[in-house]
């Protein structure tokens, strides 16, 4: 298995970006 630490910084930053966008969309959805 390839170690997780191989994930590049780009992938980490974009993962955070994806999570934040999905989170921003999910908050009103859950609140409704």
């Amino acid at each position: 298995m390839r170690p997780i630490r191989d994930a590049s910084l780009n992938q980490v930053l974009i993962s955070l970006f994806i999570l934040s966008i999905i989170g921003l969309h999910a908050v009103p959805l859950v609140a409704a």
């Binding site: 298995m1 997780i4 780009n10 966008i21």
Partner: protein, 440 residues
Amino acid sequence: MWSMYKDARSAGPIEARQTRLIGVTSSGSTEFLTAFQIGLPRGNGSRALPQEDVGRRFLRRATAICQAQRRPARAVCGDPRDEHHLRPDRQRNCPSKQSGTDLPGRYFTPQLGHTPVESWLEAWRSYWFPRAGTRVLGMTRVLVIGVHLLWFLPAFASLPEQINLLERNQEFIDPQLLIMAITAIVPREVFFTPDVFRALWLATMIAGALALFGFFTRTSLLMLALGTWSLIAHKYSYGDQHHPEALFAIFLLVLVFAPSGQSVSLDAFMRRRGHAISNNAAKEESESNMVMWPLKLAHVLLAMTYFSTGATKLLSGGLQWMNGYTLQSYTFQDAMTRGLPVGIWLSQHYALAVALSVFTILFETFFFVSLLVPRTAPLFFITGVFFHLGLFATGGHPFFPHIVLLMALMFFLDTSWLRYRIPRMVRAPAPVLARKVPAQ
């Protein structure tokens, strides 16, 4: 390599020419092999052909040696030389059981790992960052930016409309977040003037044209995204707010952070001709694991948007939303206001309104199934295109940006159709088919 060199030196004039070839290109193994393979006879190269001369034999042996050196001991997933990740029939037998090289659109299934956390991280990475050809994203860019530049910007954020809003309003009625941020830095009287907006609109169009052709692609995309965001945010800062452009605008920004210009672009063309703008070696690769995430994010956001609209209908109206009268009423109001004969016709057909209400709820609420069962995704995308076309015909709701996103997903999220070959029976030349016809 040295023994080959010695062999070549002791051989005749043909071998000597090939020796120079080795000397020039031995550092770049791909060109080296390609150059040698050109001279090879057809066949698997495992046996000497009767007419094989000294030069050809040399080429065959050299090629065999080089291929043996290049071939890994066993197939390794993720190795850019191994293309099994592009071939569905070989994925199941992947020897190292690595994820991250899956075809786009596979299940979000955690792989076996050392710990649960590692498994989920690996599943996350294999879902968002599979290795894929950059051509996919290049073609997506051309489709999306082309439609945006030629249709959406002139039609839905047109310069006359923007200037009209500026001239007829002294103040914003409900300024959007981006507009509030701009006015916090630059006073309204300075930035929000017709002259500045003419320049902004022109700059946005120029950036769009550069992004479409892929010249300084990501910089152009950033300029285009910022300009588009400003124009749309300004349009909706005077009380009348709609949302067809929202997801599309997010997708424009997302393209900036992906290798959108690595293929199908002037940048790539210039790089191939030896006039690269950037000296970043990573940009020379035709594959990347950063290609698919913009499309996957668009898919997820579309699923969340549709689920939100379906859930809102069910939460606020319950199952009564599907009683037919609701859709008849809404359609009649919109169609009368906008003069849409199809909508007026629909509003007079109760049974059809019930059927379309049920269809709307089912489609919107269960669109997310396309994420969980990727095989069904094309069906949802095609249905979505017709759903929005129907909305426009009956109610005048211009969700064309959603249609473009759905079509981009339909064509480029799963690109297995690119490898489709016409069945041999169909593509057989006419003389072959003619021979199969029994003689009369």
